[in-house]
């Protein structure tokens, strides 16, 4: 039965883990995801879950243990952040290549140096090409719901790939919000029994992770790429089923007041919540600004985004990470690539880097950017790539 509870972001992840009751959790604590592991280890110690909890000595070991447990046929989950995700790097690729459907919560945090524990998306963006599904969450309710859906998406027979559920460090991980929780029975019924396609324990001889040279590596990568084709459909099916059962539906993107909008703002994560308030107040004063929130960054829902943004005259992208020495930043590059390919109409698209290392972004700053995008839609010039909120 659904219950309204006041809960911190990290605790909501731990609660989702408890209700899912996975076979194995191997994790190493790191700010700002520490409480996920801390709280979950309490559940283990109190016998509230049947999970084998592996307290490892680093994130590299955490992901290695997760891969081992997943190839042994277990339902496996973990959590990390920032440097921890960085230390997992080589293992992330191996998890995806082995089609190990591990689910991981990532509390987004800046990367060193200098040392910073606060939010930006550099960690997840560094892992964007590793082959993991990446779902971004706007608020605590979404983290909770995304964790539960991610299990179904990752383990789906047409997918079988690992998934990250990303949420903004501190902004969401340490903020208390009221959410609608679910009962263990509801979650268990939704996630179902895991039926692994690969199990090292099934007694059939097999070789996992062998040397793979010029003669087969390329074919294996091509075959891996096929795994991503089914994911958008599966994300939507699972999101709709979740909605039917629990009243909150999810898709690959969320259009917010895009009806009749002249310009669209595009963002990932918690900033979407702030942008929604700005859109509300700007629309009240007759400014036609809408929002396209990206929930699935990997896979990138190109067709949907093209469909949605083709209706507007200019786009303002928010990037919470930087591609040093590149032209434009991760979200902008994807959006622009989608919009300018094929028959896409060439509309002006701006990129603003904001919020690095946890720097706040205010409603006034968002509104100022939206005004700039509106002006560009009317033919005015503006810097294509620039910053918000840096001195």
């Amino acid at each position: 039965m659904s219950e309204r509870i006041l809960i911190e972001g990290n605790e909501a992840v731990a609660l989702a883990l408890k209700l899912i009751d996975p076979d194995v959790v191997a994790a190493y604590p790191i700010t700002p995801a520490t409480e996920v592991v801390q709280k979950f280890s309490e559940y283990v110690a109190d016998g509230e879950v049947g999970t084998e909890f592996v307290a490892v000595e680093s994130e590299h070991s955490a992901m290695s243990a997760c891969i081992g447990a997943s190839t042994a046929g277990g339902r496996v989950m973990t959590a990390t952040s920032s440097q921890g995700l960085g230390l997992m790097w080589e293992m992330l690729y191996i998890a995806a290549s082995l089609r190990a459907p591990i689910t991981m919560a990532v509390a987004n945090r800046a990367l060193s140096g200098n040392i910073n524990i606060h939010c930006d998306h550099s960690d997840s963006m560094g892992a964007r090409d590793a082959g993991w599904i990446q779902l971004f969450s706007e608020n605590t309710q979404e983290i909770f719901d995304n964790m539960i859906q991610a299990i179904r998406i990752a383990e789906h027979p047409d997918v079988r790939l690992p998934a990250m559920v990303c949420y903004d460090g501190f902004v969401i991980s340490h903020a208390r919000e009221v959410i609608d929780s679910l009962s263990k029975d509801e979650v268990q019924e939704f996630v179902g029994q895991y039926e692994p396609q690969l199990s090292l324990l099934d007694m059939e001889a097999k070789t996992v992770g062998p040397l793979d040279l010029q003669d087969f590596y390329f074919e294996h990568k091509r075959s891996q790429a096929e795994g991503y084709v089914a994911i958008p459909r599966v994300i939507e099916e699972v999101g709709q089923e979740f909605g039917q059962k629990f009243g909150r539906s999810y898709g690959l993107v969320e259009e917010y007041k895009m009806e009749g909008a002249d310009v669209a703002l595009v963002a990932l994560g918690s900033t979407n919540g702030t942008i929604k308030d700005v859109v509300d107040s700007m629309q009240e004063s007759g400014k036609k600004v809408g929002l396209l929130k990206i929930r699935s960054f990997r896979p990138f829902p190109a067709d949907l985004i093209k469909q949605s943004l083709s209706k507007v005259k200019a786009v303002g992208v928010f990037d919470r990470s930087m591609t040093f020495g590149g032209w434009g930043n991760p979200l902008f590059n994807e959006i622009r690539s989608v919009m300018y390919g094929g028959n896409g109409q060439a509309i002006p698209i701006l990129d603003r880097i904001y919020g690095l290392g946890g720097r706040e972004i205010s409603m006034a700053e968002i509104e100022e950017y939206a005004d700039e995008v509106l002006a560009v839609a009317k033919g005015e010039q503006a810097e294509v790539i620039d910053y918000i909120g840096v001195r």
Binding site: R99, R160, E204, A205, K206, T207, P210, S223, Q224
Partner: protein, 97 residues
């Protein structure tokens, strides 16, 4: 699952790059990497089996506790066997491929 042919296309491969058989490393002929080749001189061999203990590729062939030759399909030509072979015996020498 049937054996994967060497000209198999990506659609024919098991997911995850998995080989549906065990102990497949024997089929991978690492011997073609070799630039130097160990030559065993049976007449000088004292059967101490130092070469067998130390070969990192299990390429010293032994039958009934006696060295019988070298598995050139897998020997990578590192020369460890030649260097551990007692100098007085000097029963393995290296030559260029």
């Amino acid at each position: 699952m049937s054996k994967i042919k060497s000209d198999a296309c990506w659609q024919d491969l098991p997911d995850g790059g998995i080989i549906p058989e065990g102990a497949t490393s024997a089929e991978f002929k690492t011997g073609d990497w070799r630039s130097e080749k160990p030559i065993w001189h049976e007449d000088r061999c004292i059967q101490c089996l130092q070469c067998w203990i130390n070969c990192p590729d299990s390429s010293i062939l032994v039958a009934e506790q006696k060295m019988t030759g070298i598995d050139y399909d897998h020997c990578k030509g590192c020369g460890i066997c030649a260097s551990v072979c007692p100098p007085k015996a000097n029963a393995i020498t290296m030559e260029s491929e």
